[in-house]
């Protein structure tokens, strides 16, 4: 399971623009293990799509090396193409054809015989809930329906690695949740998924491993939990039944090994801990042992946005409008 299926060494791609050289990809080192969902997070213009295009053989890198599914992207693009699936931001389904025609053609272009392609298409139509509209012209599809077809096209030939470029951009929350489900399903089938996104929740929910990109460079990487733990600690807030106990409770809590700091806020105590989920039961137990009545408790964990903020000095949520090399 720990085989590396995507790796890059010092990958670079510069574009010349009117304003000067844009370092779209500026020395990127990546390593994606088999079976992982790899989340590639960053604001628009960070260089995610350019990196993806290099990995999917669409454009050559200026320098550096990229190995995908055991083959060199530059030297053996056709071998890479046979082993990967790609769903671009634009989608890729052919509008004047039906969903099923799209799928069968896709399979045939990967060298599948017609009966096999038809069989696999039927399988995917079932798997991705396309049954109701599979034989309609794609022009008539809704955004969410088309997106599911796009994904089906990407996995038609059962690729080892599936590249998804901002798969849920422009989808409503319901369709987004549906697509997340499908992605989780693919993962459970053993497909490695390389996913770019600028949605924090998406990277956090779906990914086993996250790399954060900004201005062509990887600024942080790790599992979402590791990343969040790196930057800030979690916060537990308790509201006491009897505010008069506050001083005594604070003193008791400060003695607990999991607690890093306690502070009093207007009507509650704020407890900083490393790992909120693990600390919560311990704190409850300690409070119980002292017979302290509490009327409220909440846990807020660090988000990937906190990570992004700490690494780049900007919030990911504020960078949406930025243009740049895509």
């Amino acid at each position: 399971m720990s085989d590396v299926v995507v790796s890059t060494v010092d990958l670079k791609k510069y574009f010349s623009a009117r304003s000067g050289v844009v370092k779209a990809v500026d020395g990127v080192n990546l390593s994606v293990s088999e079976g992982q969902v790899f989340g590639f997070l960053g604001p628009n213009g960070a260089g995610k799509t350019t990196t993806l295009r290099i990995l999917t053989t669409l454009i050559p890198a200026d320098s550096g090396q990229a190995i995908v599914a055991g083959c060199d992207v530059l030297r053996d693009p056709d071998a890479v193409r046979c082993r990967i699936g790609y769903v671009s931001q634009a989608g890729g389904s052919d509008r004047p054809a039906t969903g099923r025609e799209n799928l069968v053609l896709q399979g045939r272009l990967y060298g599948m015989a017609r009966p096999n392609a038809e069989e696999r298409a039927a399988e995917l139509i079932d798997l991705l809930d396309l049954t109701d509209f599979a034989d309609r012209i794609v022009y008539t599809y809704s955004g969410g329906q088309r997106r599911r077809l796009d994904v089906a096209l990407g996995i038609m030939h059962q690729p080892r690695v599936l590249f998804l470029d901002e798969p849920t951009t422009g989808l409503d929350p319901q369709n987004r949740a549906n697509l997340w489900e499908q992605i989780a399903k693919l993962k459970s089938n053993g497909t490695t998924i390389f996913l770019t996104t600028h949605y924090l929740e998406e990277a956090d929910t779906l990914s086993d491993y996250v790399a954060i990109m900004d201005y062509g460079r990887i600024v942080a990487e790790g599992t979402p939990e590791q990343l969040k733990r790196q930057v800030s600690c979690d916060t537990i807030r308790i509201t006491l039944g009897n505010p008069g106990q506050a001083a005594a409770v604070m003193q008791m809590l400060e003695g607990q090994p999991v607690v890093k700091a306690v502070a009093q806020e207007s009507d509650c105590l704020r407890i900083s801990v490393d790992n909120g989920e693990a600390a919560l039961p311990e704190i409850m137990r300690a409070l119980d042992a002292q017979d302290t009545a509490i009327t409220g408790i909440s846990l807020s964990t660090a988000t990937l946005d906190d990570v992004f903020l700490e690494k780049t000095g900007r919030s990911l949520r504020d960078t949406g409008a930025q243009g740049g090399a895509q």
């Binding site: 053989t57 669409l58 454009i59 193409r81 046979c82 790609y86 890729g92 004047p96 272009l109």
Partner: protein, 253 residues
């Protein structure tokens, strides 16, 4: 083998589009029929003018129209290409192990089949009007029409792929449309033109095709104009196809 299969698959993808909307084919038939009905009668008064003698006037006029059908059959395909680039279709195909040449050839072949259908229907329509082509000569003319279409369709696709924007494609398409038409001698023979215009015409592939078409329809297969047209069109076709295939290979589309 994989190459031929890919070309066949991609040809049928586009052909199905045509068959689902055959009305577009009628559209391309409309322009030449309007020329035939509303312009050709004007030429009847000009018989005897240099370049307009020899048999029925339609034997002079229709070869020109056929060249224009072939030329326009490919000129506007760039718009459809831009549409497909925008929807990610081209990108999706470029990530499959499909030959880049097949990506081009599938589209061009569909355009060629469309053109051949239109040419056939048009010739049949013009027979009652008095068009009497020499059969063997006409058969030698058809490959010229095909080369003309392959050239414009390949160039149209490549331009769409490289420009990726209708607003940048339009000036180019409109810019070559009229000069090619006027300098082909299709409407009025280039023999009537002043020297400088005749010199210009010699850079126009459509001019060679029209000239060759006229002598071929009259049955003069060994005329030097036929050899000239083939000598001009063959390398041009090869060059354009090579360029367009390269666009499919390199385009950041």
């Amino acid at each position: 083998m994989k190459l031929l299969t890919d070309i066949r698959l991609l040809f049928w993808r586009k052909m199905k589009e045509t068959l689902r909307n055959p009305i577009y084919m009628l559209n391309s038939l409309l322009t030449p029929i309007i020329y035939l009905a509303l312009f050709a009668p004007l030429l009847r008064k000009l018989v005897g003018v240099p370049g307009l003698n020899g048999g029925d006037i339609l034997n002079v006029f229709i070869p020109g129209l056929l060249v224009i059908i072939a030329f326009f059959g490919g000129l506007f395909v760039g718009y459809n290409m831009i549409d497909e680039v925008r929807n990610g279709v081209v990108e999706r195909f470029r990530v499959t192990p499909t030959s880049r040449f097949a990506l081009l050839a599938g589209r061009v072949l569909r355009d060629m089949v469309n053109m051949l259908v239109i040419v056939t229907v048009f010739v049949v329509v013009s027979l009652p009007f008095g068009f009497r082509p020499n059969v063997l000569g006409f058969l030698v003319f058809v490959p010229l029409l095909c080369m003309m279409l392959i050239t414009t369709s390949s160039a149209g696709n490549a331009l769409g792929l490289l420009l990726r924007d209708e607003d940048r494609l339009s000036p180019i398409v409109q810019g070559i449309n009229l000069p090619i038409l006027l300098l082909s001698g299709m409407l009025l023979p280039m023999e009537l033109a002043p020297q400088w215009l005749q010199v210009l015409a010699h850079f126009n592939p459509a001019y060679y095709a029209v000239e060759a078409g006229r002598v071929l329809v009259a049955g003069h297969i060994t005329d030097i104009k036929v050899a000239e047209a083939y000598a001009f069109m063959l390398p041009l076709t090869v060059l354009t196809v090579w360029w367009a295939t390269r666009a499919f290979r390199k385009a950041i589309a």
